[in-house]
């Protein structure tokens, strides 16, 4: 007797209970509070805010807890939540020149107005596992005002250089024109820089890192210099229709990177330094730098460069940058495909039968010839 497989509902419910236990782990260990994630795994939260495309550190922390530390899963949770939020409108563009600097470095100039501000960075730590951390550490009392006294004024490096035309100026885009919005309109190629930067901003950090790295290794060589990387707080302002003037919504933390790339000139553009741009929520230097490299690589056709490398291929780069989309489609292979497989099974059987027939016929022919 045969009874067809049933019980999907019970199985799902049971699987979810099991998952909850896996997430919690050993009950003898104290449960993690989202505040702990927010405060002590803050870079993870920053990554989730970027790829989840929502600036909400508490939500990111909770998502990390729920996803057991799987940051792509966490970004996915944030994205899905984001979908349910009503949209009131667009904020005014943030002004990164007015940023309250916490870190600001330039690899192209030793000193510059506003100074180099090292800020919180792994850059000069020795990568030694700190076993003392396992037990918890007492922090030294932070000292005040080690930042330069004039740190309040830190014009962007690219603004400092723009006047002599050796570095290209900011894009000639129409300031009054509304930028596109990839969350409202599907991407249509070829795209403008607005759409490109939006796609890259929510793109997977690892993917952008690999692509950026490839441009450094000669696949679409772009000779980059880190013109400036800055981290700090900027104000977000919004103009409610009924008021007609801007009100502050508060501060957000962003990381901005401006790459400066050597450019030999082309039929369209004289030789000068060109720029790639990266921006992300929170402290995301790697992401912002990789983004700037890829942005510059994707400007190839605008600048009349030959397109020879993957990182220069707009459609390839942008269509595969979203890790929520990527992980969904890769992982959907786990879903049943009985029906399609059944159809293929039938075809293979038929082809096998034809194959055996042909082979038998050849064997018979050979036997006949031998006799």
């Amino acid at each position: 007797m045969y009874v067809a497989v049933k019980g999907g509902e019970k199985a799902i419910a049971a699987a979810h209970r099991l998952l909850a236990h896996e997430r919690r782990g050993d009950l003898g260990v104290a449960e993690l509070a989202p505040e702990q994630v927010r405060e002590q795994l803050s870079l993870g939260c920053d990554r989730v805010m970027n790829e989840g495309s929502l600036y909400d550190r508490d939500l990111a922390a909770l998502a990390i807890k729920q996803s057991r530390g799987d940051l792509i899963e966490a970004a996915f949770l944030v994205r899905a939540f984001r979908t349910t939020l009503p949209r009131f409108g667009y904020s005014l563009p943030i002004d990164t020149a007015a940023m309250e600097i916490r870190r600001r470095i330039s690899a192209t100039f030793k000193d510059l107005p506003g100074g180099q501000v090292l800020g919180p960075t792994f850059d000069y730590t020795h990568r030694l596992i700190d076993f003392a951390l396992a037990a918890g550490v007492e922090l030294a009392v932070p000292t005040e005002a080690e930042v330069a006294a004039d740190a309040g004024v830190a014009p962007r490096v690219t603004d400092l250089l723009a006047h002599d035309d050796l570095v290209e100026p900011d894009g000639e885009g129409d300031l009054d024109a509304a930028p596109g919005d990839i969350t409202r309109d599907p991407i249509r190629f070829p795209v403008g820089r607005d759409i490109r930067l939006q796609s890259l901003a929510r793109g997977d950090e690892g993917y952008l890192l690999a692509l950026g790295y490839s441009t450094q290794r000669g696949y679409g060589s772009s000779h980059p210099f880190a013109g400036e990387i800055r981290l700090g707080e900027v104000e977000v302002e919004f103009v409610p229709e009924e008021l007609g003037f801007a009100v502050s919504l508060g501060d957000i933390t962003v990381t901005e990177c401006q790459m400066i790339n050597k450019f030999a000139g082309s039929a369209k553009v004289p030789p000068r330094f060109t720029r790639g741009y990266g921006l992300g929520f929170g402290h995301v230097e790697r992401k912002a730098m990789a983004m700037a490299l890829v942005d510059r690589a994707l400007r190839a056709s605008d600048l009349g460069e030959e397109i020879v490398a993957p990182a220069q291929d707009e459609e390839f780069v942008l269509m595969h940058a979203d890790n929520i989309q990527a992980t969904g489609f890769v992982e959907h292979l786990k879903l049943p495909h009985y029906v399609d497989f059944q159809a293929e099974l039938g075809l293979v059987r038929q082809m096998r039968a034809e194959f055996e027939q042909t082979r038998a016929a050849i064997a018979a022919d050979l036997k006949e010839a031998a006799e």
Binding site: Y2, A4, A13, T83, P86, Q325, V339, Q342
Partner: protein
């Protein structure tokens, strides 16, 4: 199945989620639904044409049917009765999960009975029972572009559709016949809609292709990751691509359904033991149960309520 166990299942599936009333009807906000409805209307106006739409990130992963779910969310009303199938069955995990999602977020009635449903969301199958004029079939689509694996670039395929430049598609079919003696496509079999657009029917087996032609119900296709919606309005011509001397042929089965004895349905192969034993049963479980209930018997049918159709 009554509503209560379904609600229980919904709670199980969405365990830990927000309580009722915290989400808008059918999850998406009304602006998003309006946007999707506009895309659907455009799709209906241009049968077979892929309409780009601003697909949202859904709480299910891409590949799990986010396109179909968004289309369903956009067309669902409080009086609708929803059926969700995957591989033809109501009981597959993803079908259960999606049904529970809408039971939870929209509070609509759900059903497993094809003829009772006003909206049917499907992955990989078309129900055996012909759709009525008051029914909508919503397909989950992974790759909406029928030319994608012949030409990977969207910019190029869009031009090919615009110019009805489908020679390449026929080259592929020609090559199949030259190599295999027949068109070697068993599912995802391309069709031409109303004599104009070549369309991907989603990965349904080609067995189902004829059901799309001149169908009384409205057929909607949603591809979330690829951000496309397309449609076949009622009573539209849908022809499977072929050659005059190599006409389209649906998949065929040698055996009838072992449970209901049907000879005109798509069958699942079920492995019954580790010695090569197997049986064939209807992939459309509701159709099979209906037939059994009205007295049809296959050779492995077990009389009584223990047979297929009872929740264990």
């Amino acid at each position: 199945m009554t509503l209560e166990p379904m609600r229980a299942a919904a709670s199980a599936v969405l365990e830990g989620g927000p309580g009722e009333g915290e989400y808008n009807f059918a999850y998406l906000d009304e602006q998003t639904k309006r946007m999707i409805r506009r895309a659907i209307l455009k799709a209906i106006a241009i049968p077979g044409y892929q309409v780009p739409f601003a697909s949202r990130d859904m709480p299910m992963p891409y590949g799990w049917g986010t396109g179909g779910i968004q289309v369903t969310a956009a067309i669902l009303g409080p009086d609708d009765r929803l059926k969700v199938i995957d591989q033809g069955a109501d009981d597959t995990t993803n079908a259960v999960s999606i049904r529970a999602f809408f039971a939870r977020t929209a509070g609509v009635e759900t059903t497993t009975r094809t003829h009772e449903a006003s909206v049917i969301q499907t992955r990989h199958r078309i129900p055996e029972l012909a759709l009525g004029a008051d029914q909508v079939l919503v397909y989950q689509v992974p790759i909406p572009e029928p030319l994608r694996f012949l030409e990977p670039r969207e910019t190029e395929t869009r031009v090919m559709h615009a110019l009805a430049d489908y020679g390449l598609m026929h080259v592929k079919l020609y090559e199949d016949i030259a190599t295999h003696g027949h068109i070697a496509k068993t599912y995802d079999y391309p069709v031409k809609v109303e004599g104009r657009y070549v369309m991907d029917p989603s990965p349904t087996p080609k067995f189902d292709n004829p059901k799309m032609d001149n169908c009384a119900g409205l057929q909607l296709f949603g591809a979330g990751r690829e951000k496309r919606i397309y449609a076949i309005p009622p009573f539209t011509s849908v022809k499977s691509l072929d050659f005059e001397d190599y006409p389209f042929e649906p998949n065929k089965f040698d055996a009838p359904c072992a449970l209901c004895g049907a000879t005109d349905t798509y069958l699942d192969e079920v492995i019954t033991d580790d010695r090569g034993g197997r049986m064939f049963v209807c992939s459309d479980t509701d159709h099979c149960e209906d037939r059994q209930a009205s007295g049809h018997r296959g050779h492995l049918h077990v009389d009584g309520p223990a047979a297929r159709g009872t929740v264990a």
